[in-house]
Amino acid sequence: MNHEAYETFSKAAGVFVTVGLFSVLYKENKFYRFCEHLFLGLAAGWALVAIWTETLASTWYDKMMGTVDEAGKGTSPAMWLYAILLPVGFMSYMVFNKKHNWMSRIPLGIILGIWSGQQIQSYFDTYGPQVRAGMKPIFPSTGQLIVPTSGMDPAVIGGNVFISQAISNFLFMFTLVSVLSYFLFSFDVKSKAILKMNTIGRYLLMIGFGAIFGTTVMMRFTLVIDRMYFIWIEFFQHTLLRR
């Protein structure tokens, strides 16, 4: 098979399965189910390929056996201790053994332990700067309302906090604090003011969610457009009609 014919064949197959998966929008059908199982099989198969070629071969096998270049000179030493990981890894398969299934918790426990340790390790690096971003100057340092476009030294403009900026900064801080306090659960709120604050916190949350909705729509639509581009332009126009 020459390369051009292969391209056409491969693209046609891509269109075929895309249409097959889209057919579920009308109704669940046999064509869809066929494509679905094809999909599941390929994904599982590729995972099996990649697990060795992309991961274990270099992260585990090469480290355990050591590597040599073609002249026979060692480039990295062999660390046989990594072999221990094989039986530890196999313990996870004990989950199917009624008597020893507790052993499957050992590899899981190690993985979860590492996960927890890392969460604690990285906590400040993740959230410290975000808390810091909430600390903005909320009192204006000048009586002027907005940033002037001219007539003032740029250094002075940069050094000052104008009233409009102060208001924005205050709103930023207020939103952050009210959203945080919306999620306080152990305080019995009876005072009306705090209840009001809670409602406002919920409204502010909705603004955040609205933004997520908007950008999510953009993403999903882009993916549909990409599919359509593939079917109409890449396949029909470029491959079939050769234009």
Binding site: V24, F124, V131, G134, P137, V156, V177, L180, L184, T216
Partner: protein, 338 residues
């Protein structure tokens, strides 16, 4: 070689602790105090004292939904999220489902539970059977009511939508980790008119639940709900610990904002003075501003506690050369440090 002396808020010896640089003790204290809050409160909760958690509005909706399903005589669907393998979120989700099942068992209402992974299926099976036993009606438990569907995201979505259509469920609970498929569930359940209570720990999926479901537990409310319903000391304690941490963070933000405002006022005055002193000379202005910046590095601002920085590259500590690794190091030494 440059020896930089950090401000008074740092640990004084620059030779100690790469990660203590600039934030000083504070970064480590910040995480530590949160951990301490959580552990202390778990211990408090494990003691005899009953700790307070406020009622979350959405929880009323649970009883309401079960009640309605009973009226209509149709089953209740529960999906405890797409966690593979079972993790702490899934466990909390199953705990809430157990509460729902308890209410349903009282009214002898049929339930349906869809599991995403094999491990979740095993756990759910055990928990639900337990609930029926505790309620004293083990004969009402149908092992087929807890089902394993698939562990592929969209295959699972397709399977659950099929069940919703076939069984015409009256109420649906989607609690736990949900991703892109959240909307597929919510849409399908809505199309048959089921009353829905939902929650996703993924903030990105919450708006879709809000748009399509009757009641949504947002963000943290999910954790709070499981603590509230199960009253398990570990969960209750850590929830209160988290509250204390939030109050601490809020206090930090408020202090920081005030301190920042004070700083910015004095900074603005400083800049104005520097500009005036230079009287139009660009070089003088540059120098004055640089001086101002230099003098400000030593003044204390609260937010400086939160700034992480590595020590400057030219800060050198005297060390013995490593004889064993020297030849290797010589071959790939970086060209000219600093």
């Amino acid at each position: 070689m440059q020896h930089v002396k950090p401000g008074w808020w740092s640990i004084d010896s620059p030779g100690l602790g790469q990660q203590y640089w600039d934030t000083g003790w504070f970064a480590l204290f910040f995480t530590f105090i949160f951990m301490a809050f959580i552990v202390v409160n778990i211990k408090r909760a494990q003691g005899s004292k009953e700790l307070f958690i406020r009622r979350i509005p959405g929880l009323n909706a649970i009883d309401e939904a079960v009640g309605r399903a009973t009226e209509m005589g149709k089953p209740i669907l529960m999906v405890p999220g797409l966690s593979d393998p079972v993790n702490a979120i899934a466990v909390q989700a199953i705990n809430i489902c157990a509460y729902v099942t308890k209410t349903a068992a009282k009214f002898s209402n049929p339930i349906l539970m869809c599991a995403y992974s094999a491990s979740m299926y095993t756990l759910a099976q055990e928990v639900i059977r337990d609930v029926y036993q505790q309620e004293g009606v083990p004969e009402r438990f149908d092992p087929d009511s807890v089902r394993f569907i698939s562990d592929r995201q969209f295959a699972f979505a397709a399977g659950v939508s099929g069940i919703i259509h076939r069984e015409q469920t009256a109420a649906a609970f989607f609690l736990g980790e949900f991703y892109a498929e959240s909307l597929i569930f919510a849409e399908t359940a809505n199309s048959i008119g089921a009353i829905q209570v939902a929650s996703s720990t993924e903030a990105t999926q919450t708006p879709f639940f809000i748009a399509a479901c009757d009641y949504v537990l947002i963000g943290d409310e999910f954790y709070a709900a499981s603590a509230y319903l199960t009253r398990e000391p570990v969960l209750v304690g850590s929830l209160i610990g988290q509250d204390w941490s939030k109050v601490f963070a809020i206090t930090c933000i408020l202090c920081g904002a005030v301190s920042q405002s004070m700083f910015s006022c004095s900074h603005a005055r400083g800049v104005e003075a520097a500009v005036q002193a230079s009287s139009g000379n660009a070089d003088a202005k540059k120098k004055n501003l640089a001086d101002l910046k230099e003098s400000e590095t030593h003044s204390f601002v609260f937010s400086k506690l939160f700034k992480t920085n590595d020590p400057p590259e030219d800060l050198k500590i005297d060390r013995q050369p490593n004889a064993a690794a020297a030849p290797a190091a010589a071959t790939n030494a970086p060209g000219g440090s600093n």
